[in-house]
């Protein structure tokens, strides 16, 4: 993953085009992913139906995030004051490099011999594991999907379902290879293998690293949502707990979670509620029998304030990382998670990656969309995702226009502004289309490689209308 940071601009786009071309030919993989999501759609719809009014729940969730994101200047200090009052320690990180340095220092101070980690996409964003490993620290991912990906040496395929592309038999083989376990095709047995392997590691670890789903300002609590109980063990058993979170995760009230937790579960995984929803309020206190001795929170900016400064796309900070937009995205389903080459895949990833890593390098993700809008329709916090893809395209055309493309659009304006020229151009196009089809013309050739093009009609509508005489058609 660290290598992708060093990608040159053209490389990112080239890699995307190349990987997409390869991936779309892998019909087996595409069908597998499509089928893997089949169960999600059924349970999501069943759970949505339990809401008295799903749309109103989306309004409420969106409002909770909107009011928090628009008052970050007020709510972040409030959260920090309350978190510190609970005994936690806060560290501010301007960017990925600073966040890695802070966490490495904490790990060093803790004289850590073993580190365990629960699912945290923000840690993928800052390439934390690679940095820790480079300094000689072993890190174990305790989330089953992340653990599988770690053994495979791959980043998450989907930021909520990290190993959705992996078949059961492959997991069995993987465990056989790394853990020496006998082959099995039972999901329960596979889970138990990982569980048995993990138990001792929790006990051995000195440092536990987690993410955060929400930071509750009024109570100074960190809310973490998970299905396996691994985050609770990661946070509670090691001596030092380090949580890493983007600054946009703040919500004002504990009550906000009443809508945000269920909507995250339903939109993200088709669940009524995620199995474990835990609020962490500081380290172990006197008289308590468990919990870490130290609790640290690293608050990461990493260009989030730049998004905050853009009123048009500020709502992309509402994102609760549920992954619903990926699940409905025809681009994601057809090119697969790895093709993006980003921490955050799918529609929301295409919107925010240009902000996190540079528009000129990553605008191709905004261009690679039919703008179908399925993402915006399912977003539980009503981010205007597909329109932001348009906004990114506009910003890219403004700041770094492609000369040839801009010239094309200028010609288009000249033609579209003159009906006679439009009609004449159209007539020439229709008459010569048969010949044009046989020439290796760029756009036409790209179309015809996979699709036929119909023959052009002899007369345009405007010709027919004129010849028929007004109102006589």
């Amino acid at each position: 993953m660290i290598a992708s940071d060093a990608q040159s601009p053209q490389l990112a786009k080239k890699k995307f085009l190349r990987d997409a071309t390869v991936h779309v030919q892998d019909t087996g993989h595409r069908t597998f992913v499509q089928k893997a999501l089949g169960g999600y759609f059924v349970s999501r719809d069943a759970q949505k139906a339990r809401y008295r009014d799903w749309e109103q729940a989306r309004d409420a969730a969106s409002l909770a995030k909107w009011s928090a994101v628009n008052r970050l200047d007020e709510l972040l200090p409030l959260f920090v004051a309350n978190f510190e009052a609970n005994g936690g320690q806060v560290h501010w990180a301007r960017d990925a490099e600073e966040a890695r340095r802070i966490i490495l220092d904490l790990v060093r101070e803790a004289k850590a011999k073993a580190i365990i980690k629960s699912k945290c996409m923000t840690s993928e964003e800052i390439h934390l594991n690679a940095a820790l490993e480079k300094d000689g620290y072993g890190v174990i991912e305790s989330d089953l999907g992340e653990f599988i990906q770690q053994l495979r040496g791959e980043p998450p395929y989907h930021f909520v379902f990290p190993c959705m592309h992996v078949r059961r038999e492959e997991i069995s083989d993987l465990f056989g290879k790394f853990l020496g376990t006998p082959p099995t095709s039972s999901p329960e047995e596979l889970t138990m293998i990982a569980r048995r392997h993990m138990r001792q590691l929790y006990v051995d670890a000195d440092v536990g690293i987690t993410g955060a789903n929400f930071l509750v300002a009024e109570t100074g609590q960190i809310s973490i949502t998970e299905n396996e109980g691994n985050a609770r063990l990661t946070a509670a058993l090691p001596r030092v707990h380090i949580s890493l979170s983007g600054i946009e995760k703040v919500v004002e009230h504990l009550d906000d979670l009443a809508v945000l937790l269920p909507i995250l579960a339903t939109a993200g995984a088709g669940q009524q509620m995620t199995c474990y929803n835990t609020l962490y309020a500081g380290p172990r206190r006197d008289g308590e029998c468990d919990g870490p001795e130290e609790m640290h929170l690293v608050l990461l900016d990493n260009s989030r304030t730049a998004i905050l400064a853009d009123p048009e796309q500020r709502d992309s900070l509402h994102c609760i990382r549920c992954g619903a937009c990926l699940n409905v995205c025809p681009i994601f389903k057809n090119v697969g998670g790895f093709t993006y080459g980003t921490t955050y895949q799918g529609p929301i990833g295409s919107v925010i990656t240009p902000h996190l890593r540079g528009l000129s390098d990553w605008n191709h993700l905004s261009a690679a969309s039919s703008l179908c809008g399925a993402c915006s329709d399912v977003c539980p916090v009503r981010i205007d995702i597909h329109h932001h893809l348009l906004h990114n395209r506009r910003n890219a055309a403004r700041t770094a226009p492609n000369r040839l493309e801009k010239f094309g659009h200028q010609i288009f304006v000249i033609v579209a502004s003159r009906p006679w020229l439009f009609a004449a151009g159209g007539a020439i196009f229709r008459r010569t289309l048969g010949v044009l089809k046989r020439l290796p013309l760029p756009l036409l050739r790209d179309w015809m490689a996979t699709r036929t093009l119909p023959a052009a009609p002899r007369k345009s509508f405007r010709q027919q209308w004129r010849q028929a005489g007004k109102d006589s058609l």
């Binding site: 502004s417 345009s460 405007r462 209308w465 007004k470």
Partner: protein, 245 residues
């Protein structure tokens, strides 16, 4: 009512029969149609590519063309969405914003206009075929037109309406996207086109000629049907206008 036809550039040049059918349906219902020959293209290709300055010029011109028209009706969810949803955004905070909003309030997609504005679901058409309806994304999600075309189809004599399991999925056209990312576009056509064709319909009915181009283009080239027949696409207006051969 006097209806000003908004004939998108693609319909004008490549599928004129759709424009003819639209006029036939309205005239049969006793309305008058006009075609303002100053119209060309709505500017969506430039808008979607990010070249908003260029798109703005085209939009301002189009607003002028339809100035004073009582209602503007077009047989493309996508082009109508451009006028109704995106012109106001494109011209926000310019002297043309009010005119854009005014045009937006008078502009309708064909099927939506019949059902919502004219209150008609049965236009007296007969079409003895099995059909399925393809929702174009702009019609579905920008204009929120979903049930209207189906109401119209259900009222057609001898027509059997089928639903496919990917009804709300994109066909993968997306304008220039279809040639900038042809591999993704074709993969999307495979998913949607396959789902539509598996209903074993005779026709795929659509309100977007550009989706038709994509679906027809992909199916004619790639679809291997167990029955040997490949469904053709047809515009909703053509179904409502009468019987094709």
């Amino acid at each position: 009512m006097k209806i000003s036809l908004f004939i998108p550039c693609f319909v004008d040049q490549m599928t004129p029969q759709v424009g003819v059918a639209v006029a036939q349906v309205f005239e049969r219902l006793g309305h008058t149609c006009e075609f303002r020959s100053g119209q060309t293209c709505c500017g969506q290709p430039s808008f979607n590519s990010g070249y908003w300055d260029e798109a703005r010029e085209v939009a301002i011109r189009a607003i002028g063309v339809f100035d004073g028209a009582e209602v503007v009706v077009g047989p493309s969810g996508s082009c109508v969405a451009m006028m109704r949803v995106f012109y106001p955004e494109l011209l926000k905070d310019t002297p043309h914003e009010t005119a854009a909003l005014d045009l937006a309030a008078r502009t309708f997609e064909f099927g939506e206009f019949l059902v919502k504005k004219l209150g008609v679901t049965d236009v007296g058409a007969r079409f003895p075929h099995r059909v399925t309806y393809h929702d174009g994304c702009h019609g579905l999600r920008e204009l929120r037109v979903k049930d209207e075309p189906r109401q119209l189809l259900r009222a057609v004599r001898d027509l059997e309406l089928l639903e496919c399991d990917e009804a709300e999925s994109c066909c993968g056209f997306g304008g220039l996207f279809s040639v900038k990312f042809p591999m993704i576009s074709a993969a999307m056509a495979e998913v949607k086109g396959g789902s539509l064709a598996r209903t074993q319909c005779d026709y795929i009915v659509s309100s977007d000629p550009s989706c038709q181009l994509q679906l027809d283009g992909w199916l004619q080239r790639n679809w291997r049907s167990p029955t040997g027949t490949i469904p053709r696409t047809i515009h909703l207006a053509e179904v409502l206008a009468g019987a094709p051969t």
